[in-house]
Symmetry: C2
Subunit: 454 residues, 2 copies
Amino acid sequence: MTTKKTFLSEEFLPKQWYNLNADFPKPMPPPLHPGTGKPPTPEDFAPIFPMNLVEQEMTPARWVDIPAEVREVYRIWRPTPLYRADRLEKALDAPVKIYFKNEGVSPPGSHKPNTAVAQAWYNKAFGVKRLVTETGAGQWGSALAFATKLLGLECKVFMVRVSYDQKPYRRLMMQTWGAECVASPTDTTEAGRKILAKNPDSPGSLGIAISEAIEQAVQRKDTRYSLGSVLNHVMLHQTVIGLEAKKQLEALGDYPDVVIGCAGGGSNFAGASFPFIADKIAGKQIQVIAAEPTSCPTMTRGPYAYDFGDTNQTTPLLPMHTLGHDFVPAPIHAGGLRYHGMAPMVSHAIRLGLIEPVAIDQVETFESGLLFARTEGFIPAPETNHAIAAVIRAAKQAKEEGKQKTIFFNWSGHGLVDLAAYDAYLTGKLKPYSLPDEEIQRALKAIEKLPKIA
Amino acid sequence: MTTKKTFLSEEFLPKQWYNLNADFPKPMPPPLHPGTGKPPTPEDFAPIFPMNLVEQEMTPARWVDIPAEVREVYRIWRPTPLYRADRLEKALDAPVKIYFKNEGVSPPGSHKPNTAVAQAWYNKAFGVKRLVTETGAGQWGSALAFATKLLGLECKVFMVRVSYDQKPYRRLMMQTWGAECVASPTDTTEAGRKILAKNPDSPGSLGIAISEAIEQAVQRKDTRYSLGSVLNHVMLHQTVIGLEAKKQLEALGDYPDVVIGCAGGGSNFAGASFPFIADKIAGKQIQVIAAEPTSCPTMTRGPYAYDFGDTNQTTPLLPMHTLGHDFVPAPIHAGGLRYHGMAPMVSHAIRLGLIEPVAIDQVETFESGLLFARTEGFIPAPETNHAIAAVIRAAKQAKEEGKQKTIFFNWSGHGLVDLAAYDAYLTGKLKPYSLPDEEIQRALKAIEKLPKIA
């Protein structure tokens, strides 16, 4: 038996999620209430999130039980296959073994349902009947539409208008799973009407869509808001990826020297890497790399500071790497990596030296993704191409150093509904782009007057 | 351990394909050379197919070894998961167990690479450097693009112009895997120029595209033609589906009372059902159902007769259920079921009473597919929805009869690049459509003067 695709039996599906907050050598700075300047109380979150998820957001527990019904839904696509990328290895001709987790096998095609299913379940357990969320390119919205349908909740998604118009496939996916999907800004919310009054043709933004979703969530007692990244409980749910991978690698008698993921809000990266970072804290010598786009270099060029999670300043202040809540990233194809901030847990781990961030240009990422598709077969999502580019860099480095290395990375999703991006690359329409310094300086003005991290 | 997704280990991947031709109680009528009226010799096929595949097309052997390198590529996505559709069962409230094979986990998202990989390998072994084929909606073209890239051959695909223009995603998939994809008719072939002279804006057809592909294949010594359905060797390669399913069901201690697949050219249906039909010939009491669209009712309303495989009458005469080689099916969303004929092996099995064909209207198929997506999670291809509709009919029948039944069906592919079809259904744009009798009578004039099956 070789190791191409392996270890899919029930026993590799974890019974608990792992919480890195229990093992950080130094605790994370708390979020702050923008009004009081103090950490928010659980009650502050009550209109937005169900209390069981608020507790999970704040829990110091190392392990959190995965509810049986969540595991039952996970079993539709989990455990996900661990692959040995032997054809890619051969093409790179480097002294490396490359493994990846294929999170693209879920019904919506990405890692997002790992937390969507969990969030839907906790909301249902708390008596919530309906979830409202926002989505940019549509990965998160489609995952929540899938999860709520299977668990029997209603779902409404505010989708950024420019994506709603230009990327119909993810919207159609949401509708196929029975969710209501509307183009944001709408005239059904205060926040939306304010924008439309100024600009009736507004293309929308993630910041506006978040404000619309939160506004509608707090209006109805049976409704809550749901977020697909950034928060602690989202990172927690995603750890099924790394926990499975560790067991699968262990069954192969292997362990990685390098762990790699792409990071936008941070959730797929955290999910794949945190169980390995636990070992690093305990003394293991491993390198953990988070790859982001040069057009939105939150981790590599944004300061570690308190900032709002959304443009409209409705969230608590979060301690994170940020380019400022006003920052509007260029419309790159990797829509999932277009976020001004980075999850507080990932940001804290960077500060502690546990993670090395790297920024990669989109042309290099598509070149890497194309090599992957033409050797391993599966066509990666544009976001995932950032992880693949970092893997290829690590393989080349191992060759230069003359060292044998084992690389593990998270293949966060497939690119079957992102093929227009490959077309742009293949026809030479993609150009290299690094965010200019002056744009960063301008964007960071938005956080000048906010409290600083101690 | 439950049975949601199971038995994915190496041992379930077959080492041999199964050939139903070895077990038919009565042999199939031979194909006929249209010029001589006699069965074609292997040499007749030599300019079109490599001799090792011609031999396989004609072999009486019951088992054919799967080459090691083909199995290595299969292992990228095979064995495919066998699922218990317990959420669908619950929604149907019928005394049935429903199992399905998820063939959508392959990189192109359907069962097509099962034969594409095999055909690419045999051509390569024969010294061929380049394959030419045609594709309608693009499932087959994308599968051959994937297979040739992984095995190191060049690939050219003539894609029917109307699909080339209207369905860019499959074309982009082919290009991502490095294939050349052109809109047919082209001005690079005699056949294409003839059509363009009459109508420069011709939308193309599968018949024209086949003629263009064959014409180019025979021009170059390093090139051969490849077909994704209908032929015996294609049915043979697809039997990995049914062979795996039998082993997986056996490991669960189960065996189906009803086996179901959708059938256009017949390959996914044959692949899933032939290993079970072998048992039926040996005495097992099982029902085998092939589902087709009412808009293209080849099996249910077309006679069993000799006919050409293509519109331009370039192929041998094949003994099959046919609506006549001139027949142009309505532009339904299930593009893979729009073919005037049915594989000779499937047609023969129908005549022998081994298979029950059923025609289902597209509105019922999408209603069924939507119920599947909203219970089991995965969004099915429009073709696959025909199988699901037949499953739901079988479940309702079991309920009416008050009988416990185990149903197995082939989930031939996902619908993630066919979501426009779901949109048409959800917005009420799909209308019921049965092919009128007078159209069938008109189409069948094309075969009036051809030899009859003895």
